[in-house]
C-alpha cells in the first residue's frame, strides 16, 4: 500500500549504563493487565533517560503493575503486584539475582510494598499477610497475619507498622494499622485511624504518620500521627493529602484533587505539628501529582507526573526551595525512585 502509517513518537534514550551512578531508577507502574510495568534509568549528568531499562538488562519484562522499589544493601528489590513477584537485582550492575515468586500454591499473594530491618525484608501482601524474606537466602521464611489488604509499612521503635486498607472490601474498607513486634514477629495490636489507610512514614522523633485515604467520596483523606512509645493515635490533621515524603527534618505533603485537577505541595513540620507552608512548591506544571520524593544527595525534590494515566509520564525536579529545574520523560505512571550518587 502506498499509504504509510504515522511514525511512532521516539522516546528519549541514551546508551545503556553498565554501572549505575549519578542518576535515578524510576519505577513505572504501567496499567492493570497490560504487562507494561517498566523501570527507567535517568542520568543526572546528561539528563538522558533510558526507558525499558529492566528489560534491556534482563531480556524479559518486569511484568504487570510494579508497585514499589527499594534499595537495601547491595540489592534493589522491586515489588510487582499483579505478576505477584519480587524482583531482586544487583544495585550497581542491575543484573537479575532472583525473581521471588509470591504465591501460595498457585494463588498469587499480590505483594504491594517492601521495607527492611536487619537481615530481613518485609513485604506486605494483599492476601492479608506480611511476608518475611531473608535478604541473603532470598527465601520467604515466615508469614505474619495482619489486616485486610495491607499497603505501606514503616519501622519504628523495634516495631513494624502496617496500614490495613481493606480496599477490596469497598465500600466497607478497613481503618486499622497493625503493630508487629519484630523480635517475636507477632502482631501486638491494631490501632484505629481513618478509613482506608495507605501510606505510612516515620519522623525523626520516631512517631509514625499514616495517610487514611477516605472513600474517594464524602469521606476525605486525612493524616494521623501515632505515638510509637504508647502505640496510640495522638493526632489527626485537617487537610487533604494523597502522598507524603521526608524532606530533611520535615515532610512534604502532596495532594492531588482529581475532581478539580488541582494539586498542591505543602511543607509540614512534624516537630511543631503544623503546616508551615501549604503551597511550598508551585505545581501548575504538574498535570497529575502522583508521587513525591526528596533526594538528599543533590537536595532536589522529584515529583511524579502521571498525566492522564494512559500516557507516559514525567518526573519533574525542583530545587529544595521549590524552583522548577528540569523534567525526565519516563514510562507509564511513574510512582517511585531510587537515587544514585
Amino acid at each position: 500500500m502506498i499509504l504509510s502509517c504515522k511514525k511512532d513518537k521516539v522516546d528519549p534514550t541514551s546508551e545503556e549504563p553498565l554501572t549505575l551512578t549519578n542518576g535515578m531508577l524510576v519505577l513505572n507502574e504501567g496499567l492493570f493487565q497490560q504487562n507494561n510495568s517498566s523501570i527507567s534509568w535517568a542520568s543526572f549528568a546528561t539528563n538522558n533517560v533510558q526507558n525499558q531499562y529492566f528489560q534491556s538488562r534482563t531480556n524479559r519484562s518486569l511484568g504487570d503493575t510494579g508497585n514499589d522499589i527499594q534499595r537495601y544493601g547491595g540489592k534493589v528489590y522491586v515489588v510487582v503486584n499483579v505478576s505477584s513477584t519480587v524482583e531482586v537485582l544487583d544495585a550497581k550492575t542491575f543484573e537479575s539475582i532472583k525473581q521471588i515468586e509470591m504465591k501460595v500454591g498457585t494463588a498469587p499473594k499480590q505483594p504491594r510494598y517492601i521495607t527492611f530491618a536487619g537481615s530481613k525484608a518485609y513485604v506486605s501482601c494483599y492476601d492479608g499477610y506480611v511476608d518475611v524474606i531473608d535478604t541473603t537466602s532470598l527465601e520467604v521464611e515466615l508469614r505474619i497475619l495482619v489486616g485486610a489488604n495491607p499497603e505501606a509499612m514503616t519501622i519504628a521503635n523495634g516495631k513494624l507498622y502496617v496500614a490495613n486498607s481493606g480496599g477490596l472490601n469497598f465500600p466497607q474498607m478497613d481503618s486499622t494499622v497493625s503493630v508487629i513486634d519484630l523480635a517475636s514477629n507477632m502482631e501486638l495490636e491494631k490501632l484505629t485511624v481513618g478509613i482506608n489507610p495507605g501510606s505510612v512514614i516515620r519522623d525523626q522523633a520516631g512517631d509514625v504518620y499514616v495517610i487514611s485515604r477516605g472513600d474517594y467520596g464524602a469521606i476525605p483523606s486525612r493524616l494521623y500521627r501515632i505515638d510509637t512509645q504508647q502505640d496510640s493515635v495522638v493526632a489527626n490533621f485537617n487537610f487533604d493529602v494523597t502522598s507524603i515524603c521526608s524532606f530533611e527534618d520535615n515532610f512534604l505533603i502532596a495532594n492531588q484533587d482529581m475532581s478539580s485537577g488541582s494539586s498542591s505541595i505543602g511543607l509540614f513540620d512534624p516537630a511543631s505539628e503544623s503546616m508551615v507552608n501549604p503551597n511550598y512548591i508551585n505545581t501548575t506544571s504538574v498535570s497529575t501529582l502522583y508521587a513525591i520524593q526528596y533526594n538528599p544527595n543533590d537536595q532536589r525534590i522529584y515529583v511524579c507526573d502521571a498525566l492522564n494515566y494512559t500516557n507516559t509520564g514525567y518526573v519533574k525536579s525542583f530545587s529544595n526551595t521549590g524552583t522548577y529545574l528540569t523534567e525526565y520523560h519516563v514510562g507509564l505512571i511513574p510512582t517511585k525512585m531510587i537515587f544514585y550518587e
Binding site: K9, K103, T106, G166, G217, Y290, N311
Partner: protein, 643 residues
C-alpha cells in the same frame, strides 16, 4: 443492484442466488449489494463460533475478541464503538442496557441464513426504529423465523474439534398453507485449554490457557402465519451458559479463578402488513438477562466475590411506510418504546431504570435515476435511579442520502450520505460501583460518506465492486478516566475523534463447466485521530485498537459437490493505548483458515462432511493486548439437511 434470496435452499453448500431478510413482508423489494451481505454459504464454510467472527468480514469492522469459544467479543465500525450499531435478529433489535453492547459470542450461527448491513438500505416500514436510527445496522436472518415453502425441513449437525470442543444442533420446521412451526436446540462445550505462545522480552514463552472451559445450551420455538398481505410471527429462545474467564495473560502469574454464568430468555412477536401503498410492522420484545460473576480467589475479607445482575427489557414499536399515488414519493416513520431495568446484588449499584422513546419521520423521493431520502429521528430518554434524581434528555438525529440508481447497462452508481447517531451511556457507565457518572451525556457521531458501486454483467469475472470514502466526527466520547485516584476511574464525556478512511471490496466469480471459482478481496484504511486537546501528547494520535489497515483475501473453488475455501484475514498494527509509542504497539497479523467439504445428495436429503482448519500456520496473535488467541485448531462437522 441484485435482489438476493437464500431461503428455501437446502442446507448444502451450493451456489446461492438470492438472500432476503426474514422479517421482510412478501412484496417489499430489498435491494442488497452482495458486498453488504454474508450469506449462508459463507456461514457454512467458515464454521464460525459466533456472529462476531462473521461481522469482521464487513469492511470497516474491527473485532475485539478476548479469546476462543465463549470469549467476549465486541466490535467497532469505522472507529465508532459497537454502541452506535444495532444488531437486528429477525427484525428485533438486540440491546444490552447494562453493558451497553451486545456480546457477540452469545449469538450462534447454526441457524443464521444471512447477515445484511442495512445502514443505507431502504428498509423503512420493516426495520425496527432502533435500527433505522443507529449509526449502522446488521440484520441477521435466521432459519427459525422465516417462511419457506410447504413441507418438513430438518437441519442437524454434529461437530468435534480441538480443545475437546463438541457441539450438536437440531432444528426442525414444518410449514403448511401459510403456517409454520419451528423447534430447535443446541448444545456445545469445550475444555478451552489451548496452547499459546507469547513474547516476553527476548524470549518466547509457551503455556496452556487455563480456566477457559465453556458450556452452553439453548432451545426455542417459533410460530408464523402468513396470508395475503398479512404476516404474524411469535418466537422465544432460552440460552444458558457457564464459562471460566481466563483473563489476560499476566507475566509470571497464570492463576485465574473467575467464572461467569448467564441465563438469557428472549420472547418476540411481530405483525406485518404490506399493501400496495401502505406497509407497516408492529413488533414487541421481552428480554430477561441474568448474569452471575464469581471470583473464588478475590482477596477481600469474604475470600470471594459473587455478584448477580438481572437486566430486563421490554420493547415495542411500529414502523410504517406509505407510497404515494405518485410513485416517486414515499413517507415513512414510526416510534419505539423501550423500558430497561436492572437489579443487582451489588448494593452500590442501586436499581436503575431507563425509559427510552425513539421517533422517526422521513420521506424518500425518486426522480429519473436519482434516489433521495431524508429523515429525522427523535430520542427521548428518561433515566431513574434511587440514588439520584430523575433525568430526561431529548435529542434529534437527522440523516439524508442522495444516490443514483442506474440499472444495467449503466453499471456505476454513486451515493452520498450524512447520518447523525447517538450512543447512550450504559447502566454500568452511569452507576457502577464508584466508576459510574450520572452526569454523562450521550455520545454523538456524525458520519458522512461517499460510495461507488459497480456491478458488471454477471457473466463477467468481476462480479461486484464497492468503494467508500468517509469522514466521521465523534463528540462527547464516553471514556473511562481516573477521577479520584488510579484505582477509582470514572466515566466522562471528554473526547473528540475525527475519522477518515476508505474501503474497497470486490467479488469475482468464474464458472467453467462444473467448476466455479470465487475470489473475495477487501481492504480498509482508517485514520482515527484524537482531537480532544491540542496540548495533549496524544493529540492527532491514532485511537487505541483502531488498525490503519485491515484486509481480507479469500479464494474458493467448487467442483460438483466438493469445495475448498482459503481465507486470509489481515489486521495491521494498532495501539493498545492512545499514545502512539512502540511500547503500546500491537503486532499486525495474517490468519489463514482452510475449509474443505463434500456433499452427499439423495433427493431432498443432503449430508455434508466438512473439515475446517483455523489459524492454519499457527500464528500467535491477539486482538486485545494480553489476550492471546488460539493457535492452529481443527473442527470436523457432519451436517444433515432435509429439503
Amino acid at each position: 443492484m441484485l435482489s438476493l434470496n437464500g431461503f428455501g435452499q437446502s442446507d448444502s453448500i451450493q451456489a446461492i442466488k438470492e438472500v432476503k431478510v426474514s422479517f421482510r413482508p412478501a412484496n417489499l423489494r430489498l435491494p442488497v449489494s452482495k458486498q453488504y451481505c454474508v450469506d449462508r454459504i459463507d456461514i457454512l464454510e467458515l464454521a464460525p463460533n459466533d456472529i462476531g467472527e462473521l461481522l469482521q468480514r464487513f469492511s470497516g469492522v474491527y473485532l475485539k475478541s478476548y479469546g476462543g469459544l465463549g470469549g467476549m467479543k465486541t466490535f467497532s465500525y469505522r472507529s465508532l464503538g459497537s454502541q452506535h450499531a444495532s444488531i437486528i435478529l429477525d427484525g428485533f433489535s438486540l440491546e444490552n442496557t447494562q453493558a451497553g453492547q451486545v456480546n457477540l459470542a452469545q449469538l450462534h450461527t447454526d441457524n443464521v441464513e444471512s447477515i445484511v448491513k442495512t445502514d443505507e438500505q431502504d428498509l423503512a416500514g420493516v426495520l425496527p426504529i432502533a435500527g433505522q436510527l443507529s449509526g449502522v445496522s446488521y440484520a441477521i436472518s435466521s432459519f427459525d423465523n422465516s417462511f419457506l415453502k410447504n413441507g418438513l425441513f430438518i437441519r442437524a449437525s454434529l461437530g468435534y474439534g480441538s480443545f475437546d470442543t463438541q457441539n450438536s444442533y437440531l432444528n426442525t420446521k414444518w410449514q403448511h398453507n401459510g403456517y409454520f412451526i419451528n423447534a430447535s436446540g443446541k448444545f456445545r462445550r469445550s475444555d478451552g485449554d489451548y496452547p499459546f505462545r507469547f513474547e516476553n522480552g527476548n524470549t518466547i514463552d509457551r503455556q496452556i490457557r487455563t480456566n477457559n472451559a465453556y458450556q452452553d445450551y439453548s432451545f426455542g420455538n417459533a410460530f408464523g402465519y402468513k396470508k395475503k398481505n398479512h404476516q404474524l410471527r411469535l418466537n422465544y429462545r432460552y440460552n444458558e451458559s457457564e464459562q471460566g474467564l481466563p483473563g489476560a495473560v499476566i507475566f509470571y502469574n497464570q492463576s485465574a479463578d473467575e467464572q461467569l454464568y448467564t441465563k438469557l430468555f428472549n420472547a418476540a412477536g411481530d405483525y406485518s402488513f404490506s399493501g400496495k401503498k401502505l406497509s407497516m410492522r408492529w413488533y414487541n420484545t421481552y428480554t430477561r438477562s441474568y448474569l452471575r460473576y464469581l471470583d473464588t480467589s478475590y482477596l477481600n475479607s469474604a475470600g470471594f466475590l459473587d455478584s448477580e445482575y438481572l437486566n430486563e427489557r421490554v420493547n415495542s414499536g411500529i414502523a410504517v411506510n406509505y407510497k404515494f399515488k405518485n410513485p416517486r414519493f414515499n413517507l415513512f416513520g414510526g416510534t419505539e418504546l423501550d423500558r430497561s431495568s436492572l437489579i443487582s446484588s451489588d448494593s452500590t449499584f442501586g436499581e436503575p431504570l431507563r425509559v427510552y422513546n425513539r421517533q422517526l419521520i422521513g420521506m424518500g423521493a425518486k426522480w429519473v435515476n436519482l434516489n433521495a431520502k431524508l429523515q429525522m429521528g427523535g430520542h427521548y430518554v428518561m433515566d431513574n435511579h434511587e440514588l439520584s434524581n430523575e433525568r430526561t434528555r431529548y435529542k434529534l438525529t437527522p440523516m439524508f442520502t442522495l444516490g443514483t440508481n442506474y440499472l444495467r447497462p449503466r453499471r456505476f452508481n454513486h451515493r452520498i450520505s450524512y447520518r447523525n447517531s447517538l450512543r447512550l451511556p450504559s447502566f454500568n457507565e452511569l452507576y457502577y460501583n464508584g466508576v459510574g457518572n450520572i452526569a454523562l451525556k450521550p455520545e454523538v457521531a456524525h458520519q458522512s460518506s461517499y460510495e461507488l458501486t459497480y456491478e458488471p454483467h454477471k457473466k463477467k469475472f468481476l462480479n461486484s465492486l464497492v468503494a467508500n470514502g468517509y469522514f466521521n466526527r465523534v463528540e462527547d466520547l464516553i471514556l473511562a478516566i481516573p477521577t479520584k485516584n488510579l484505582f477509582v476511574w470514572s466515566m466522562q464525556n471528554v473526547g473528540i475523534v475525527h475519522v477518515f478512511g476508505f474501503d474497497i471490496s470486490s467479488k469475482y466469480l468464474l464458472e467453467r463447466d462444473k467448476i466455479s471459482y470465487k475470489i473475495n478481496l477487501s481492504y480498509s484504511f482508517q485514520r482515527s485521530m484524537d482531537m480532544t486537546d491540542s496540548e495533549s501528547p496524544t493529540y492527532r494520535d491514532q485511537i487505541a485498537y483502531i488498525p490503519y489497515h485491515t484486509g481480507l483475501m479469500e479464494f474458493g473453488i467448487n467442483l460438483k459437490q466438493s469445495g475448498l475455501r482459503i481465507t486470509n484475514s489481515f489486521v495491521g498494527s494498532r495501539y493498545s493505548l492512545n499514545e502512539n509509542i512502540e511500547m503500546n504497539r500491537l503486532d499486525p497479523f495474517v490468519i489463514t483458515d482452510l475449509s474443505v467439504h463434500h456433499v452427499f445428495k439423495r433427493k431432498n436429503n443432503n449430508l455434508t462432511l466438512q473439515f475446517n482448519i483455523k489459524n492454519l500456520f499457527d500464528r500467535s496473535y491477539a486482538y486485545v493486548r494480553s489476550y492471546i488467541m488460539p493457535g492452529v485448531n481443527y473442527l470436523i462437522t457432519l451436517r444433515y439437511a432435509l429439503h
